[in-house]
Symmetry: D2
């Protein structure tokens, strides 16, 4: 990262940590600069009843924000593609019921206005980390963006994608490590936790971790959540389902609300001490 | 690819090879089913004079089509982003002067109408192979699409991205191998030539090879072009510049028109014999 | 790991965690089954004075064992190859002076007898994880072995290399994650911490982590050491040098004894609470 | 490869291509400097009758040398480990019957004397490319060595392993590309053919290709063999079995003698023309 003096995403340009504020009023959540957020919820929004039930459960388990996919980037055109705008409306109702700000993925600029009005944190998914038309559109708005690392992107490329957002004027950017691709099929991805302290050394932006995609295996999520916090993460985003075996997507990597409560307890304990 | 009987991109659904027809009239080019095409031109369109000069040179060297980037997906927002619509207009003039059909990359649906009217083969770049909004938009048009493999995408994912195009009704799809990411910095990418016979075994779609991005090193382009043809490729897309050292992008992997003429001669000789 | 009922390295064959005992008498160190060990020392043994000085320093900082390379597997034949048997004798003197058991790498069976007599824990390095002649030789002895994961080996291959040791009769095996190879040059390796809970789920063998090779960057070692412990590691092996800038090898990833003391303090605090 | 002036393996040290001579008398085979060799035979030597039968068949199909594994590096200790010295004796008989020089893998220095006396080309396998004790032992002998690239080794590391042989005095070294590890399970390895022209640009040593391990799929072997020759390879080493479905190892990637005859014919035709 030889251009350190020029890039807005790097430390040289910005002495203190960026703190991103998500939502407003009582439910406002801060991420970065010592503020930690636990985001949890289903991979896909499946129905109003489902998302409401899980939203209440993750809030009770200690979550600060609700995640849920309405537009789903699926490898096959024949897989469930998400409920779209209807799914987003269900998330909005779940926010009204629980007060939890919501984060959801935007796949193109067609629905940008709806996201700007209703979603608190706009996620750019791993497959779109280098979708520069999307990044440019998001650089012109004033809404926090969660930029997931591409599953085979270098740290340099990831920070340069953040630079597209910052250079366009949107400084409310959170980075998210979600695992990289490797030669070993024993886990779905390799969670590259070293990037947490590395990115914090290079950049002032907050960085959170997704241990659900990072491991692809629910039994590994609790210990890797604690490891991510020990590595210095500013937050976690975890897939939670109250009936993982019947989830419409990613059930194998979703934990239950009860498991999330245990994760939350250990994280809070850890953060009190260190 | 267990779902072979269901997927439109696989052999099971389609007995004979797909032949894609690009352009019209005298300059019409066929790819697939025994038809081979050599596409060549600059990485970026830099000026009208440059693209005209190179178009004539690659035509003289034996190229069947002209490639040129007008919208450039660049890792850094501060790098040259291409001439955009103005660049496309220069390509159109070069086509008028030479008769060569043109291929250029589309990065989002904003300029789709212009591409439909003026570009003969629409390229989806490696970073956008899983930009499903873009794929869905292109599935609804009747214009050939060149689908580059993501730089860390599996063959299965690649064919499923093609499936997004086919399932939406656009059957004019050409696949393009352009190298994958590895641990070895000695070449920019690893050209994965085995996918040529593998894809032809699994699918009826034509597959071409990009040895310029595939190797990232101009000295390797001639031998790897011949190797790609020996592996069974239905075409090549090669970056050519008449002054590689002063190219605005990718000069290190561009060959000269003279070098292209030698490549073309060896390919034609090879194809006569096998 | 479909053969779970047959493999001696897997849980199915062994209800309780294996505890490996290293050294004897007062300095005896246990690893696994709730026992944790901190191993530290220089990458290479450079002189008797150096290894004695560092041994005392790491002991004062809280280390349980001394690491030090005498036979060094170097990529180039022209790089420093280690002091060999003379280096091992210096490690033995450092053990006499501090009481710390020693771990060092064996590269072939030529010096096996010397290792059996003088070294407490024999390390098989990453490059030799599938050197089956070496594994077979070590399977016949009764001395603990530290089996590093190959830098591009799957978890399955790693456990099957452990199986070579166990099936030959040596059950005193500790696994060590040391980072895997990836496409990203921003760290020397990718520390694959998820394998810690994964291996503990699959196998009864203890697993430790090497954050020095795992990150290749001394500034990341403290946070990744704590992350490894949070992930469930049974120990750490860390490169320590009191003058990293003048180390004969791997100075860039070595931490100072003072830094190690801080790491040790945080680990002990963590382990008291969880 | 910044050290180009110092390394014996690089062009700077050696103006002309190295030609390696294997075997003696009428059956002598040359590799490099324009000389091409086709090596073929079973993955494992299974019985005297099998190896004799296949040796005659590959000779009839056009092979210049016989390959066969007697000591097999197997991932699991419970898999067939090869016939060892007995297998080598069977290879020697097959050489007597056919005149084909033999190539076989040596896994450690225990059987080095037997190999020196009886084997014409000693193979160092992919897993042992950085087994420096083995390389040092082979650097002191005067027998050609076939150095396979490690399945995750960079070109630089590969040439530096060759440097271990050359710097010790053994200049009869042939390099062999056999595929590298990637994220895509659709082929067993990724055949990295670009290294053929790259290595020939950097080094004076001959380089051959193993399309059997390189693809792991017999249906891809014929086209990738021709592609390797088009890329500039000085030879091929191909697994051949007359009953692939019942081979004790690697049947899925073995071709039949009839298929080899077709491969040989196309290669000879190609080499006549280019």
């Amino acid at each position: 990262m030889e251009e350190s003096t020029k890039l807005k995403s790097l430390r040289g340009s910005h002495a203190s940590d960026t703190v991103v504020a998500i939502g407003s009023g009582e439910g406002r959540v801060l991420v970065g600069g010592g503020h930690f957020a636990l985001m949890a919820g289903p991979c896909s929004v499946e129905s109003e009843e489902q998302v409401l039930r899980i939203a209440k459960a993750v809030k009770a388990a200690g979550a600060d924000m609700l995640r849920g996919g309405a537009f789903k980037p699926r490898t096959s055109p024949y897989d469930f593609q998400g409920l779209g705008i209807e799914g987003l409306k269900m998330l909005v109702k779940a926010r009204e019921a629980t007060g939890l700000p919501i984060v959801s993925e935007l796949m193109g600029d067609k629905h940008l206005d709806f996201f700007l009005e209703h979603v608190d944190l706009i996620q750019v998914g791993s497959r779109n980390m280098q979708n520069y038309d999307l990044l440019k559109a998001l650089s012109r708005v004033r809404k926090p963006v969660l930029l997931k690392r591409g599953f085979s992107s270098t740290v340099k490329e990831w920070l340069l994608s953040a630079e597209y957002l910052l250079s366009g004027g949107n400084e409310q950017v959170i980075l998210c490590e979600r695992g990289i691709r490797s030669f070993d099929p024993s886990t779905r991805s390799v969670m590259d936790l070293s990037v947490v302290p590395l990115v914090k050394e290079l950049s002032h932006l907050p960085v959170i971790v997704d241990p659900s995609h990072g491991t692809g295996r629910s039994s590994l999520v609790p210990s890797m959540s604690l490891a991510a916090v020990a590595a210095g993460a500013d937050g976690l985003i975890i897939e939670v389902h109250d009936d993982p075996e019947h989830a419409l997507s990613d059930g194998f990597q979703s934990i239950t609300p009860e498991c999330l409560a245990g994760v939350n307890e250990r994280i809070r304990k850890f953060r009190t001490l260190f």
